[in-house]
Symmetry: none
Subunit: 270 residues, 2 copies
């Protein structure tokens, strides 16, 4: 008797067809690989025609895209744009923004919340310092993963295979004298970042700009939110930046708490 490909943990739930479709999207969103109709059938336990109809619906709408062989599906442009807009425009969500504002007051430097989008780091929200000398980087802009503090944090928590795939094809473009353009050195740095739980950007992207970042802890699984303080070298030394760590961690915790508290008690969404 063979291993009996058992697990088949059904996960699709929802009281209405539309919610079941969203539930399916959640399963899809967790994949970092292409998927097939057959695979989903095994994974969810749903009848094949039902799943087929759902996928077909999503494909016609441009939410999914069939890849090459007509068998493997991946996310479509429309779905990705939806996701980006959702994250991007969520900023006036007040609570997070308020925490950011508070942090800026405490440390006296510009702070921002970041997320990984594709192979770049996306600025979700940002509060500028009051100091006259400052870098202006607006929410919505993107920076490469390999030369930003948040980016290195995101890389550090990925599964090795996932990280390798991303790094293998993203050219480690040089922006400044300090940019890590060597894969080996970058891996070393990422490991350091992973073990210490914070990351520096020591003028690796823009000359004169230093940055220290931590992850916003997630209730479970990986986090896709980073929190960072940025400032000009002129004002912000490495030591001073390090001294902000406690405040940074506390703020990250607050943001995590906001998200956690906003979750209907215990059973998450049900």
């Amino acid at each position: 008797m063979k291993p009996e490909t058992k697990p088949e943990i059904a996960k699709i739930d929802g009281d209405t067809p539309a919610l079941r479709l969203l539930s399916l999207l959640e399963i899809i969103a967790e994949k970092d690989q292409f998927f097939t109709l057959h695979g989903l059938v095994e994974e969810t336990g749903l009848p094949k025609p039902t799943l087929h109809r759902m996928l077909q619906q999503l494909e016609t709408a441009g939410m999914l895209q069939r890849d090459g062989d007509n068998r493997h599906y991946g996310t479509g442009v429309r779905l990705r744009r939806l996701a980006e807009n959702l994250l991007l425009n969520n900023t006036v969500q007040g609570a997070r923004h308020a925490v950011l504002g508070q942090l800026v007051k405490e440390v006296g430097e510009s702070c921002n919340i970041t997320a990984l989008s594709g192979n770049e780091v996306l600025y979700l929200d940002r509060v500028e310092t009051q100091a006259p000398l400052r870098f202006y980087l607006h929410p919505g802009s993107q920076v490469p993963v390999h030369c930003s503090a948040s980016g290195k944090l995101f890389l550090a928590q990925m599964k090795p295979a996932q990280r390798r795939r991303l790094l293998a094809h993203v050219p480690l473009e040089r922006f400044t004298h300090n940019t890590l353009t060597d894969l080996g050195l970058l891996e070393e740095e990422i490991e350091r970042v992973g073990s210490t739980g914070y990351a520096f950007d020591d003028e690796e992207f823009l000359p004169g700009l230093v940055c220290i970042a931590v992850l916003v802890p997630a209730a479970k699984g990986r986090s896709n939110l980073g929190l960072a303080v940025q400032g000009p070298t002129m004002r912000l030394s490495r030591e001073k930046a390090l001294s902000f760590l406690p405040a940074l961690r506390e703020a990250a915790q607050s943001i995590a708490a906001i998200d956690a508290e906003a979750t209907p008690d215990g059973s998450a969404y049900a």
Copy 2:
């Protein structure tokens, strides 16, 4: 008679309730503020009870969240997490996109990844050149097989019977002076393409647009992914296009490697 406030540009579309719900999410995703039922009614023109039900549904599922006063809605944790996961895990598209971007840098012209979808060639992804003069063709659009470089490559690798079946049902529509509308001539061209391993589109679809394409090699069987460089005749001669072949082939190889890694091999894909 007063100005009659009539911005009311309905935007919700979709052939099925579930897609209409996604369409609603898109509208919501574009907001950077909380929103109300009434506001959405005015914005979309949908009946109040209908929208109410939709919002209620999304709220119960944890996708939306009401803001204290029970009147204003904002995005819920579950929806945000969905968006985060979508972006976080699209490393495949990210990696492919990076390869495309790199190729564009090398050759200085717009490049795209294509797939055969039904009887037409589908643009999966595209990166535009920086040059000011350019054709704008977005991902998701489709072009006929008989007058596109990628299309001819797809045809060339088909079994003759398969190709005949496809061509029998696709009228060889004329788009430009150079379009191959004669089946015999097209067969000749396809044979040439098959033996050389690359294909030209010499203003056969759009006047002034030339294109050279290769196939992304597949691990097994036929490939259904094409990689192409496109440019205006003004800048891109046939000779120059030919000189891009090595870069094109190398990029195709990279994409093949990415896909190989991201394709659930045989069975499980978790």
